[in-house]
């Protein structure tokens, strides 16, 4: 903990970093984002296993970017997001300084994003057993049972878009749901509107979602729509050998293999 505070004091003091994005303690012991701009702000920094928000969501936020060089305390999911964001030209070495936090709460002072890339590639992007079981359970259902399952689960969704807002990859200035000529996604939150929104969201995250669960944690109604993203991660592995955020090179869905499976095409 002190190591992190000292590091941040140093970064802010020396001016290498203008704003440092970390965690602090919020209401009722919950953890939330802290934006340290002065060395003394570092005092508020904390880190423990309850720090689950994906802070990478802030590196594309205008008001934060305007402050200048950003620093960020990055857990594995955050690091993955940052690499993917770099691949998508939303952040670069000239804009961010990454202080990695390993699963064992060890600090890594990354020199640049390619070091971050190297680091994350030691780990597979794989969904946990609990969710794998849940997906299996869904697979065992009939199509109609799954349909009913989702109608029931998505019914409460009132389209507050917390899932979108909390996702580092949903940084578009104008989301497709806000496209109204034509109106791709119905604005109201009704059965078909909700269905279409969640399908669209899942498709747009194929090959980009890094399974941080920020969306699900953000949902005020605890809707398990992140299962859709997890299924996409599973299938990407099944069909194309999986993916990892990379700084350059092909993106899973903007490329192809001549021998991609086509047993479903006559």
């Amino acid at each position: 903990m002190d190591e992190l505070k000292n590091k941040v004091r140093e970064l802010l003091g020396s001016g290498t970093v203008k704003v440092f994005i970390g965690y602090t303690t919020g209401t009722a012991g919950t953890k939330r984002a802290l934006f340290a701009e002065k060395p003394e702000d570092a005092e508020g920094l904390v880190f423990d296993s309850s720090c689950i928000q994906n802070l990478a969501v802030y590196v594309t936020k205008q008001e934060v970017k305007e402050k200048g060089m950003m620093g960020i305390s990055a857990t594995l999911p955050v690091m993955r997001s940052l690499v993917q964001l770099a691949r998508e030209n939303q952040v670069s070495d000239s804009g961010i300084k990454v202080i990695g936090i390993t699963p064992e709460s060890r600090l890594i002072d990354f020199g640049n994003l390619s070091e971050v890339e190297k680091y994350i590639h030691q780990f597979q992007l794989e969904i946990d057993q609990k969710n794998r079981d849940m997906l299996e359970k869904l697979d065992k259902m009939t199509v109609s049972e799954r349909w009913q399952f989702w109608l029931k689960e998505l019914e409460p969704c009132f389209k507050c878009y917390a899932c979108r807002a909390a996702c580092p990859m949903c940084y578009c200035h104008r989301c497709t749901v806000e496209y109204n000529q034509p109106q791709w996604i119905p604005v109201p939150s009704h059965a078909s509107g909700n269905l279409q929104w969640h399908i669209m969201r899942a498709v747009h995250l194929v090959g980009r979602c890094i399974d941080c669960d920020a969306c699900a944690n953000a949902c005020p109604l605890a809707i398990p729509f992140n299962l859709l993203n997890k299924r996409m991660i599973e299938d990407a592995r099944k069909h194309f050998g999986g993916y990892q955020p990379v700084l350059s090179g092909d993106h899973l869905m903007s490329t192809f293999k001549p021998d991609d499976k086509e047993n479903f095409i006559r």
């Binding site: 209401t27 936020k61 008001e63 389209k159 878009y161 109201p188 109604l221």
Partner: protein, 341 residues
């Protein structure tokens, strides 16, 4: 009518519920699913959740549905035929187990829907809705009704207020309105004579944390404050706070047509969204989140009291509980009160 006090035994509560269902009222009551408690239509008393400080969503959806048809239209030879929605089939409904802070919200919402033109659909729903509130014996760090003029046993807005009178599980019933009286009439035998219960001793204690009048006066001079940007830096601009709020009334109008016919619906909207004020020209008067956050606070604590002489906040604390990034309203209001302009 002045408040009539009665006594309801623990085991009579279910009987009362069943009596209401028997009178084929649509009864909304708190049900817990996926760890979230919200109002759902319930016919079976056993499904009702007892252990909750506050529901995730307010009960506003009963009178102000998140998606509501307001008219049908159809192209025909002479142009477009319009058919306003028929408000007759609106059910007689009862909201069971809402908190006093929610009940207060009814009035604040009503003020918005009636400040100039009267919203027929909304009023029709309100007229057919009876509120059976339960006062709060517990509060959490998000609650601040007492700071905005309410209290854990507030009768304002409710038709009947039930207060749990100690471990025994019996209730003090306050019949506040005629609608309340009608409920009692549905099962008079269950409403016994009040043995003289001291209500206050069973209510949660929640000292006020700030003065809303002070805040209101402060806000007049606070528009340009740096505080907004500081507070909202971590806000990610979703609509959760507005959608769980008992008094947020903003809605969008959408025409959904399939071929030559369709419906005009109104659906919830939120001032937290970046597109909320986006002009066709591409100009957005509230370009950044700090401006949207400011609008939210100003609207509830300055504009509404000024124009509608009610506050846009009941202190229920839902926005803070529901916020993905812990934008704690109470905390922010206190800091507004503390910063010097």
């Amino acid at each position: 009518m002045n408040i009539e006090k009665r006594f309801i035994r623990k085991d009579s509560l279910k009987k009362l519920f069943d009596a209401l269902v028997a009178k084929n009222k649509v009864v909304y009551a708190p049900v817990t699913r996926n760890g979230k408690t919200s109002f759902r239509i319930v016919n079976d008393f056993s499904l009702i959740s007892g252990d909750y400080i506050q529901t995730t969503q307010s009960s506003k959806e009963v009178t102000f549905p998140r998606t509501e048809k307001i008219l049908d239209f159809e192209k025909n030879k002479d142009g477009i035929g319009v058919k306003p929605v028929d408000i007759q089939p609106v059910h007689e409904s009862v909201i069971w187990g809402i908190r006093p802070c929610d009940a207060v919200g009814k009035g604040e919402l009503g003020a918005i829907f009636n400040w100039d033109s009267k919203d027929e659909i909304f009023n029709a729903r309100v007229a057919k809705t009876t509120l059976i509130s339960f006062s709060c014996s517990r509060a959490d760090e998000y609650c601040f009704c007492t700071s905005v003029g309410g209290n854990p046993g507030n009768t304002e807005g409710s038709d009947i207020l039930l207060t749990l009178a100690g471990e025994g599980g019996d209730y003090l019933a306050e019949i506040i309105t005629e609608k309340g009286g009608a409920v009692m009439a549905a099962a008079p035998e269950l409403f016994e004579k009040d043995p003289g219960i001291e209500k206050d001793k069973y209510l949660a204690s929640l000292p006020a944390r700030f003065s809303h009048t002070e805040i209101r006066n402060k806000l007049d001079k606070f528009f340009e404050s740096e505080e907004w940007a500081r507070q909202s830096l971590r806000c990610i601009g979703c609509g959760a706070c507005a959608y769980v709020c008992p008094t947020c009334a903003c809605f969008d109008i959408q025409d959904e047509s399939h071929g030559k016919s369709g419906s005009r619906v109104r659906c919830w909207d939120s001032c937290g969204f970046s597109l909320f004020t986006l002009h066709t020209s591409g100009h957005n008067p509230r370009e950044v989140q700090s401006q949207r956050w400011r609008q939210r606070i100003m609207h509830k604590f300055s504009y509404m009291p000024e124009r509608l002489s009610v506050y846009g906040c009941t202190g229920c604390g839902r926005c803070s509980r529901g916020c993905p990034v812990d934008m704690n309203l109470l905390e922010h209001l206190i800091s507004i009160q503390e910063v010097t302009v």
